[in-house]
Assembly symmetry: C2
Homo-oligomer: 199 residues x 2
């Protein structure tokens, strides 16, 4: 069987993603706790400039976390409503997680975000991936679980995430019954990662 | 606050996705049960040409299901290995699900697939979305659950999916304990969807 006929290459895409990442880097950084409601879907990065021992040496210019907000019904291919304020909603959820964490301060966080308009919304997942791989964001690639939601009763047979162990405070985490990860192992992974970033 | 500075538009993307969907439609259709191992990641569509009462009138030229296979470690931004045979593995899993279904025949299925090479792998999720919305594939948009895996012990407090109710046979589904959906409701949704497609 000849697989050559199934192979798709794209130079155009590489330049398009570079263009969007550049656009992301050119957007204003906004303090996380002053954002007002706005419509739209897209990608965002959260930046931390606070004093948390575990993150000593982590460059404030590099996002800690990159995420996306896609239109509701996206996966089911209902007519996506790109005016849906999903991006704002997601940023608010993150604000709340940070406020609830005992060792983080929401005023130490700011964000960049890009509202992906019309057809560009199709690229949201790809741009999120490109940003994560570009910045190797700690809360995506090393510490797991920041973006988690309360799984709801009937699904509490899980373990607390790494993020919840090093940033305790989200109230629903207390319901989770499985064995939590070891915080000293998580902290060691963070040290190794930051050292590699600075290399 | 001025959100204009955060808004990204792209004409280039629209034309790029159209180009890839056209490429998809130009790839050879391959019987699902004759595919041999090959490396790569990407997107695929499954086509059904059999005689299943519930699907009467569904055009054989339209895929039933669209899916994707991304490189392992994609989300964690480890160095993705695009030679990883994830696309082949995914097609094999689907073959097995179809073989296990009591009312489907694997020889009635064929597939189109596109191996997304190098940078194009970044577009996999977007292309999958574009294909689903283009074809409004039944097993993505109406009948839920074809792509599910055995959730494993400790997570059997779920309900069988709609797909498993109308295509019973996957052995692990017998372990699921929550109330299954009503097959007559699923079948009615299918009829409505096919009627709308033919409109």
């Amino acid at each position: 069987m000849d697989y050559e006929a199934h192979m798709y290459y794209s130079d155009q895409l590489e330049s398009l993603l570079v263009e969007i990442v550049d656009f992301f880097e050119g957007t204003p950084k906004v303090p996380l706790n002053v954002i007002e409601g706005f419509p739209g879907v897209g990608v965002y990065g959260l930046y931390h400039s606070g004093d948390v021992k575990m993150y000593d040496g982590h460059p404030a210019s590099r996002p800690m976390y990159v995420g996306k907000a896609v239109p509701r019904g996206w996966r089911q291919a209902r007519e996506p409503d790109t005016d849906d304020p999903q991006l704002f909603i997601r940023l608010q959820e993150h604000s709340r997680s940070i406020e609830q964490a005992q060792n983080l301060q929401v005023q130490d966080f700011s964000c960049r975000f890009v509202i992906m308009v019309d057809a560009a919304a199709d690229l949201i997942a790809s741009v999120e991936n490109a940003l994560i791989r570009r910045y190797l964001t700690l809360w995506n690639t090393v510490i797991d679980g920041f973006g988690n939601h309360d799984p709801g009763s009937g699904r509490y047979d899980q373990a607390p995430s790494e993020w919840d162990i090093v940033h305790p405070g989200r109230p629903w985490v207390a319901n989770l019954r499985d064995t939590p990860p070891d915080s000293s192992i998580v902290e060691r992974k963070v040290r190794t990662h930051i050292a590699a970033l600075l290399d």
